[in-house]
């Protein structure tokens, strides 16, 4: 199961924080900080897995992360997930963002935080993987947008 999905930039500013297990807010902040410090000191060409920090879970948990340009995508998962599978999932998520935003960049995550969450909800639900087919995910997002548009039109906005 996925415990948490964290996206932050090279300076540790959180851009997307999603926990699938309840943590008090201050612990959430601490987890983000700790995770940032754990991945920051690692070069780009060493392995993408590391044993979880002290805050989430302990030895049964792993952090699986990928670094894209200015952003780190970190998934905290337990031992029931395949490491390479999660790496694929991060790639699927990022590629989907890229399709939805056309050349996604950090600013898109900042200004369209809500949309990013909707996209994530199509991929991961309650810590479990819901859908890995990119076309299917994009189709769902498009359907949502059509609904949204039609509503805006109906109200003359």
């Amino acid at each position: 199961m996925i415990q948490a999905i964290l996206v932050f930039n090279n300076h540790g500013k959180p851009r997307l924080v999603r926990f699938y297990q309840r943590f008090p807010e201050e612990i959430q902040q601490q987890i983000v900080r700790e995770t940032f410090h754990l991945v920051l000191k690692r070069d780009d060409n060493i392995c993408n897995f590391l044993e979880g920090g002290s805050l989430i879970g302990g030895s049964d948990y792993k952090l699986i992360y990928r670094h894209y340009a200015t952003l780190y995508f970190v998934f905290c998962v337990d031992s029931s997930e395949s490491e390479l599978g999660i790496l694929d999932l991060i790639q699927v998520f990022v590629e989907t963002l890229d399709k939805c935003f056309e050349n996604v960049c950090e600013l898109d995550l900042i200004f369209h935080m809500d949309k990013v969450h909707y996209i994530l909800q199509e991929v991961v639900m309650g810590g479990m993987v819901l859908e890995t087919n990119m076309n299917e995910i994009v189709a769902q997002i498009e359907a949502q947008n059509r609904l949204e548009k039609s509503e805006l039109l109906a109200w003359g906005l």
Binding site: N45, Y118, E131, L147
Partner: protein, 890 residues
């Protein structure tokens, strides 16, 4: 067209975010945020009703502020209100048609939150059937659900095996274009394949030959595909492909039954060990670690030793180095122990601080387990202390002392080596401790050499004295008094040291007391008395290495299998050199056989393998009764008669047993002839019980034979070792019998004690229930209220709970109740139950095979003179049994 057009967002929100981003300093940012918070607060509180759009905008702003790490203490209600809106954009309910998919995951979430809300039923068949669904997304969700549910209810979902195999087979054998959208970088449905392979790891190999054949074919196909040239150079392609490959290998290791596949898996992992992708090297090391514990592939894994050692030396990534160290530990056996230990020692010099202690423990264990010659073992441990003294825990240096004390062939060497090690200008305090102890015991063995004559030994130790901590100085004082016994010529010097004001009036009570007592002892006692008091330590009782226990603790319950010797069992006899059942080793057991895995090995020369309670050094002083004072009784384990040979327990046996549920000592039975007293102590899953048989008459009992019988399955649950006692008990005399007890797994019925003897020619027979109940193996566990409730909730399956409501048989006194609960073995937790009248307790039952966590709650009702007792444990029969035992106590 992008799916999200960038223009239709909320302008106010965008402006706010831009403002924040333009802030030059943290202070400016906080100022801007506070301004916005004030604004939003006034809007929410204002008279004017907000429209949905504004509410949504403000809630989004709050979310953004929250994301930046600021506390938000309002606005939750507005967010909730948005949910009840009937406009789509304000609540964003997705109208997906794939309801099944979400439903499966929703059910899973519900089950995880509270398993008893989801009783198994005929719907399980429908869930399993989802594996046949057309829509791959649905299958993926269903597999996740089944994987979770089948862990607790394997039988309900057994039918999923054949469906999963056929689904997997269809995916694996499909061309890369067949599955269209679910093909990811030329790999058909990698995610689903991985999940299916994980699901299959929840079950043993399929019993149906056809299904099994099909599965083996799949696994072979995956292994074959790994050798094909890649269809794409992209890393995503190889990732997806390898994700399936690694799961396949995990499944092969899990089945551990196909030697051919295991060796192929090992070769495949061997290739990955040298791959240029760090991720693959990491995973290969990790998988190989589990492979090393299979008897079929252990040898194959060993061939990669050089690569792994190289990884330990050259990998730049600490995660990978750690995996390499784990693998070296797992692949170690007698043939390569020296090489591996020396490599790990070398690595320790530069190892990351975070993993040093673990490496130290591993080296200590391997050195002990595979030591053929004990001078090597002593060298290794002393090297450990030299290289990483700070990380050498007490367990490690206690252990080396135990082994040196127990093996006289290594004592001289040990004394010489520590003497040399102490010469170093700066040596670690742990070295001083080990050196002090060993020289105090065996310094005489090197005293013949003028370079290590008694005065030299003493001044060497004493030169370290002032730099050491109180504990070490206390140990050194004991060494000094031992020196007075070993080397009378040092007496004057040592007495002067003890007499010095810095010792005799030391601010530390322990040091002062030792100085005073030792000084007096050395002045008043005769040489004979000194020699008796300060005699060499007796051998330590053999037991499982405490270091191993520590490593297991450190790794936690989910520890990797390689660390858990239990899982290596099938192979351990042949490969890991535990106890080799060949004739030659029975007569002269391999030197390591009696150091680890002691339960199986009969230590011929050592004292009776007392599966003693207690820990380490303390144990030596554990009481005089440890050596049964019964003269030359044969030491062979007692042969119990079969249960059919003995009579049924006497009618009051249950009542007698109940008296001992909450206490350990007392009179178990008494009649005109005989009195049986019990004294027992339990620690972890071990116990020692002394039975005292008193002859109340003036006539000798003859053919006196007390035996312990295991009715039913108890033999596999509880091991009781007894010694034969003298066959005659004189009138008025008392004999003692020692029972060593080991709880192997949870049990419900107590063992029986059958006592037979002849009194005045007439045979007497008596069968009692031995007061060994499962709660004796309780270890009290303290926990905070929050943890208690969390665990209480986790144990909420109906069968995990047992409850009893009963009338009080004794006056309801809170203090007595507390004492009884503590005697029962659980910890009493204060401030957990909102009602202070109630008692809440927690403990863990320790057995060799498993641990059972127990939570209990006792609610007295003084008015009705009733109690309600609730027990929750992870094992159904245990809950019921504990509940019954405890309910009879009040």
């Amino acid at each position: 067209m992008p799916a999200v057009s960038k223009g239709d967002g909320m302008r106010g929100l965008a402006v706010f975010i831009s403002d924040i981003r333009n802030c030059k300093s943290k202070e400016a940012e906080i100022k801007r945020i506070n301004k916005e918070l004030a604004n939003i607060r006034s809007k929410f509180k204002g008279d004017k009703a907000l429209d949905g759009y504004s509410k949504k905008k403000y809630v989004c702003k709050l979310l953004f502020i929250f994301l930046l790490g600021h506390d938000i203490d309002f606005g939750h209600m507005e967010a909730v209100n948005l949910l009840s809106s009937n406009k789509y954009t304000e609540k964003q309910i997705d109208s997906m048609d794939s309801v099944k998919q979400s439903a499966a995951l929703c059910l899973l979430r519900l089950y995880k939150a509270s398993p008893d809300l989801v009783p198994m039923g005929e719907w399980t068949a429908r869930v399993v059937h989802l594996l046949n669904d057309q829509h791959m997304g649905v299958v993926t969700a269903a597999v996740s659900l089944i994987t979770c549910l089948c862990k607790k209810n394997p039988d309900d979902f057994k039918t999923c095996i054949s469906l999963a195999v056929s689904r997997l087979s269809r995916i694996v054998s499909s061309a890369s274009t067949d599955l269209q959208d679910y093909t990811y970088y030329f790999v058909p449905a990698p995610w689903l394949s991985v999940k299916l392979l994980r699901l299959l790891q929840c079950y043993p190999p399929p019993e149906d030959a056809a299904v099994k054949g099909r599965l083996v074919e799949c696994l072979e196909t995956v292994l074959n595909k790994a050798q094909e040239p890649p269809k794409s150079k992209k890393v995503q392609h190889s990732n997806a492909k390898n994700a399936i490959l690694f799961e396949t290998i995990s499944l092969i290791i899990h089945y551990d039954s196909e030697p051919n596949l295991l060796v192929r898996a090992c070769n495949q992992l061997g290739q990955f060990l040298q791959h240029r992708e760090t991720n693959l090297r990491y995973l290969a090391l990790e998988s190989m670690c589990t492979l090393a514990s299979s008897e079929f592939s252990h040898e194959a894994v060993k061939t990669h030793i050089d690569t792994v050692i190289n990884a330990l030396k050259t990998e730049r990534d600490v995660s990978v180095r750690q995996r390499a160290a784990d693998l070296l530990y797992a692949m170690c056996d007698r043939s390569n122990a020296k090489q591996i230990v020396s490599e790990m020692l070398r690595y320790l010099e530069t190892a990351d601080y975070a993993i040093r202690e673990e490496i130290v423990l591993k080296v200590a264990i391997l050195a002990e387990k595979y030591a053929v010659d004990y001078s090597w073992y002593v060298d290794t441990i002393l090297n450990l202390i030299r290289i990483a003294g700070d990380y050498v825990s007490e367990e490690v240096w206690y252990r080396v002392l135990q082994i040196v004390t127990n093996r006289d062939d290594v004592q001289g060497y040990a004394a010489k080596t520590v003497f040399e090690a102490l010469q170093a200008p700066a040596c670690h305090e742990n070295m001083v401790k080990v050196g002090g102890y060993i020289l105090g015991e065996f310094g005489n063995l090197i005293a013949g050499d003028p370079r290590s004559s008694p005065p030299v030994q003493f001044s060497l130790l004493h030169s370290k004295f002032h730099l050491c901590s109180v504990a070490t100085r206390a140990l050194l004082l004991s060494t000094y008094i031992k020196f007075i016994n070993l080397f009378p010529e040092t007496k004057a010097t040592i007495q002067a040291v003890l007499r010095a004001g810095s010792q005799l009036r030391n601010a530390d009570v322990e040091l002062q007391q030792r100085a005073v007592e030792y000084l007096t002892l050395s002045s008043v006692a005769s040489t004979d008395v000194l020699a008796t008091v300060l005699e060499e330590m007796p051998p330590f009782p053999e037991r499982e290495s405490s270091i191993l226990a520590k490593l297991k603790r450190k790794k936690g319950p989910g520890a990797g299998s390689a660390l858990d010797d239990g899982r290596r069992d099938p192979s351990s006899n042949d490969i890991n050199g535990g106890v080799e059942p060949t004739p030659s080793t029975v007569s002269t057991p391999s030197p390591s056989a009696d150091l680890l895995g002691l339960r199986a090995a009969p230590p011929p020369a050592a004292p009776p393998a007392s599966a003693g309670a207690g820990n380490l050094l303390v144990d030596v002083f554990d009481g005089p009764a440890a050596q049964p004072s019964l003269g030359p009784t044969p030491e062979e384990a007692f042969l119990s008669p079969g249960p059919e040979d003995i009579g049924p327990p006497i009618p009051e046996a249950d009542e007698l047993l109940n008296k001992f549920v909450c206490k350990n000592n007392g009179v178990l039975f008494e009649n005109q002839l005989l009195q049986i007293g019990v004294k027992s102590e339990f620690r972890q899953n071990l116990g020692r019980m002394y039975l005292f048989y008193g002859n109340k008459t003036s006539v000798q009992f003859q053919n006196f034979s007390p035996t312990v019988v295991h009715p039913g399955d108890l033999q596999t649950q509880l091991a009781v070792q007894t010694k034969r006692v003298a066959a005659q008990v004189d009138g008025g005399a008392q004999v003692q019998q020692v029972l060593n007890i080991e709880c192997l797994r949870d049990f419900l019925t107590p063992p029986l004690l059958s006592v037979r003897f002849r009194y005045g020619g007439a045979p007497q027979a008596l069968t009692l229930k031995l007061p060994v109940t499962i709660n004796k193996f309780f270890q009290p566990t303290e926990m905070a209220a929050q943890d208690f409730f969390q665990r209480w909730k986790q144990l909420s399956l109906p069968q995990q709970e047992a409850q009893k409501i009963f009338k009080a048989n004794h006056p309801m006194d809170a203090e007595v109740t507390k004492a009884k609960l503590l005697g029962f073995g659980s910890a009493l937790l204060d401030n957990v139950d909102p009602n202070p009248e109630n008692f809440v307790g927690a403990g863990i039952i320790q057995t060799k095979a498993l641990q059972v966590g127990c939570l209990l709650r006792l609610e007295p009702n003084a008015q009705a003179q009733m109690y309600r007792l609730t027990l929750r444990t992870s094992k159904e029969p245990v809950s019921r049994h504990l509940c019954e035992l405890l309910a009879q106590q009040f």
